[in-house]
Symmetry: C2
Subunit: 165 residues, 2 copies
Amino acid sequence: MRLSEGVEWGVHCAVVLAALPPGAVLAGKALAEFHGVSESYLLKHLQALVAARVCESVPGPRGGFRLARAPEALSVLDVVEAIEGRQPAFRCGEIRQRGPAAQGPDAAVYRVPCAIHATMLRAESAWREVLRAQTLAELVAAVGAKLDPETIRATREWLVGRIRA
Amino acid sequence: MRLSEGVEWGVHCAVVLAALPPGAVLAGKALAEFHGVSESYLLKHLQALVAARVCESVPGPRGGFRLARAPEALSVLDVVEAIEGRQPAFRCGEIRQRGPAAQGPDAAVYRVPCAIHATMLRAESAWREVLRAQTLAELVAAVGAKLDPETIRATREWLVGRIRA
């Protein structure tokens, strides 16, 4: 089981956008440079965030990306699902319907979800719940609380002039 | 994020083995036939269960597989981690250490885990906790409670004669 690299990139970008003044826009190029990652590859993930309505894309020479909603109204799960999709990690192949003890595909017993499948999905719900419970606003605060003054100073200095209102 | 097909196979096999009388052994061929899956492919997963001490392999013409511990002492997580490994799904690439605001690799700020990383791992802990809390004994009971009399009959009939003591 592995989440794609894009999840780390997407959440980091969302945190930076969530820390900007309301409505402020940052170019994809700036987001890529700030995180030291490939711009073209990052743009694919940013487009996924736009498609999922986590971000908005503002066109034009002063354009870029901003959050589509307030950081209090977006969860970490919104970002993760935008990048990774909403399909469950456990995909039940219904192997209970194969083999010598299996009944026909219309048997009533198969209308009840398999207990193994149910357990796996329950675990995924717990994973999702943790990510849903954390808003981007809270994550910005948690990230900020761990930063030292020098990193905060360097971040602010770099962002000033690159932020587009 | 996707779990391998082997997780479904491995948990189903573990449930069958957990339902057998204590010490009883079932050949890999029988486990494959019962689940309607490829024997050679299933054997790789069964070997992973043996390597993780979830199962024991009994050699010889009357050999096969059995659980290494009582079903009450094995969790669904034991089976899932045996197949899937214990690596976290979220692998932090420490991209916070790149870009214009980053400090040198020895900076004290990087000794504190990134809040984004911490959030992702907290979600995985919740996932793991659900699977750790469910024993194979409980899962056998849950699977059994959903089966109809015809499936139970067909399963028993098929297993009798194939079980090795």
